[in-house]
């Protein structure tokens, strides 16, 4: 069978491990705040959110529309942001991406990157507005954090493609 050039034809064109690997890798992304560095300003990219976006843009049908509610709740437990902020902003950006998906049909990676950049900015800036008082001097570092996160997104996108595995392998 494996020698046949037609092996795998007719099988479902998706990997099944993504079903459990996607939520797991997103939660591990959220848990990267556990790295043993005691940051004195917001320096770490929101890796949980970036994993979520990478999975969403890589496999649009994989995560249910309500998945970011639960994943955002898990993120809120460790991130230090007020409870409910990731739940809200992650779900809103998820639904916004679904809406845009019906408008933009043909797609390349730059558009995915742009969508991810919009979602990352929305979540980080929204999170800053609800978490820290308006007078706090965090805006410059926040801008740097947003730019670094956007620049890092392709890396996570490649990582997710790798985690998703070779298509057709069951």
């Amino acid at each position: 069978m494996s020698g046949s050039p037609y092996a795998g034809l007719g099988k479902v064109d998706i990997s099944t491990r993504a079903r459990w690997l996607a939520p797991l890798s997103i939660i591990i992304g959220s848990l990267t705040v556990l790295v043993p560095f005691k940051a004195s300003f917001p320096i770490l990219p929101p890796l949980g959110l970036m994993m979520l976006l990478a999975w969403r843009l890589h496999r649009p049908d994989l995560l249910k529309p309500w998945a970011p509610v639960l994943l955002g709740f898990a993120d809120d437990l460790v991130s230090g942001q007020p409870m409910g902020s990731s739940m809200l902003f992650w779900t809103v950006s998820f639904i916004a991406i679904d809406v845009l998906d019906t408008r933009i049909v043909w797609r390349d990676f730059l558009q995915d990157w742009l969508l991810a950049a919009g979602a990352i900015s929305l979540c980080l800036i929204g999170g800053r507005l609800v978490a820290a008082p308006l007078g706090a001097h965090v805006d410059t570092v926040l801008l740097v954090q947003v730019l670094v996160s956007i620049a890092l997104f392709p890396v996570l996108s490649r990582l997710v493609a790798r985690l998703d595995g070779k298509r057709g392998v069951q």
Binding site: A39, S40, P45, D61, V69, L77, S79, L88
Partner: protein, 293 residues
């Protein structure tokens, strides 16, 4: 690139309803998020128990990572000290010799001080240390500055107690679970510490800015000049922080409001010391104000 597989379910009514309901659940979840957000804004300690439980689960992992980092970062210093030990020994001997007179004088001064205080019948409140523990991780991706201490209520830690190190003040405890506790660092934008200038006792407020610096504002008098290098220590006002813990040093000369650099960097810190609140009654009242949301 071909259009991505979208969620359009085709003509199946069942699939269409299923999709619709999942969007309803998502929107409902977002609304729950809004409610939780409002709740945590108006009643910050509301979710302390949930967060504490989760923190109990993940802090052992973070402690392990922290231990690994300390072990690895200690290797170069260990090799260096192995080769430098002879010359270091000689240098230290010379230093002990040179300091002997100074230490004698300091002992006499300390004894005199104690005697004179007894003579004046001054009653000092001593903030006894509760526990010594490590800070294991912090909220690196958030605009708030919390760190997690790997000691909790089973070790006698209570919310409102100050946390400091040998170098200076770190912050205070806002949430305590059985084995872990959350520290509001003095760098946090919602942290306020009453301080005084070492040089002349001028009262001031040290508020966190959120970008790794501290803002020192004069309390009371206007047109105060802060000089570069002015050091500030806690004043003991407010009842949480015991007096005379170093807090920050002014970075550049300024009037009325100056930027300060803290003495104790939470990252390079070896051990954090938790002390009793200076006046515990006041601490209990003030702790909920700054709790994480």
């Amino acid at each position: 690139m071909a259009p991505p597989r979208n969620r359009r379910p085709g003509f199946s009514r069942r699939a269409q309803y299923g999709l619709f309901i999942s969007y309803v659940i998502a929107a409902g979840g977002a609304l729950v998020g809004v409610v939780l957000l409002l709740l945590s804004t108006f009643h910050p300690p509301a979710f302390a128990a949930v967060r504490g439980t989760f923190s109990e689960l993940v802090t052992p992992v973070a402690s392990g990572l922290d231990w690994t980092r300390r072990g690895l970062s200690g290797i170069p210093a260990g090799i260096g000290s192995y080769f430098g030990v002879r010359s270091e020994n000689a240098a230290l001997r010379a230093e002990v010799e040179a300091n002997r007179k100074l230490v004698e004088e300091a002992r006499i001064a300390a004894y005199d001080n104690k005697r004179l205080r007894a003579l004046l019948k001054l009653r000092d409140r001593i903030a006894a240390p509760v526990v010594t523990a490590r800070l294991v991780y912090s909220t690196g991706s958030s605009t708030r500055r919390f760190a997690t201490l790997n000691a909790g209520s089973w070790q006698g830690v209570r919310a409102g107690q100050p946390v400091s190190s040998a170098d200076g003040l770190i912050g205070r405890l806002v949430e305590v679970s059985p084995n872990t506790a959350r520290v509001l660092l003095i760098l946090d934008p919602e942290s306020v510490v009453p301080v005084r200038r070492v040089r002349d006792g001028l009262p001031a407020i040290a508020a966190g800015r959120g970008d790794g610096l501290i803002e020192i504002r004069s309390a009371g008098a206007a047109q105060i000049l802060f000089d570069q290098g002015d050091a500030f220590v806690t004043s003991g006002t407010g009842g949480i922080f015991p007096p005379n813990i170093p807090v920050a040093r002014v970075r550049a000369r300024a009037r009325d409001t100056a930027e300060g650099v803290i003495f104790a960097s939470p990252d390079t810190l070896d051990y954090a010391v938790v002390q009793q609140a200076y006046f515990p009654e006041a601490g209990a009242v003030r702790a909920p104000e700054a709790a994480p949301r």
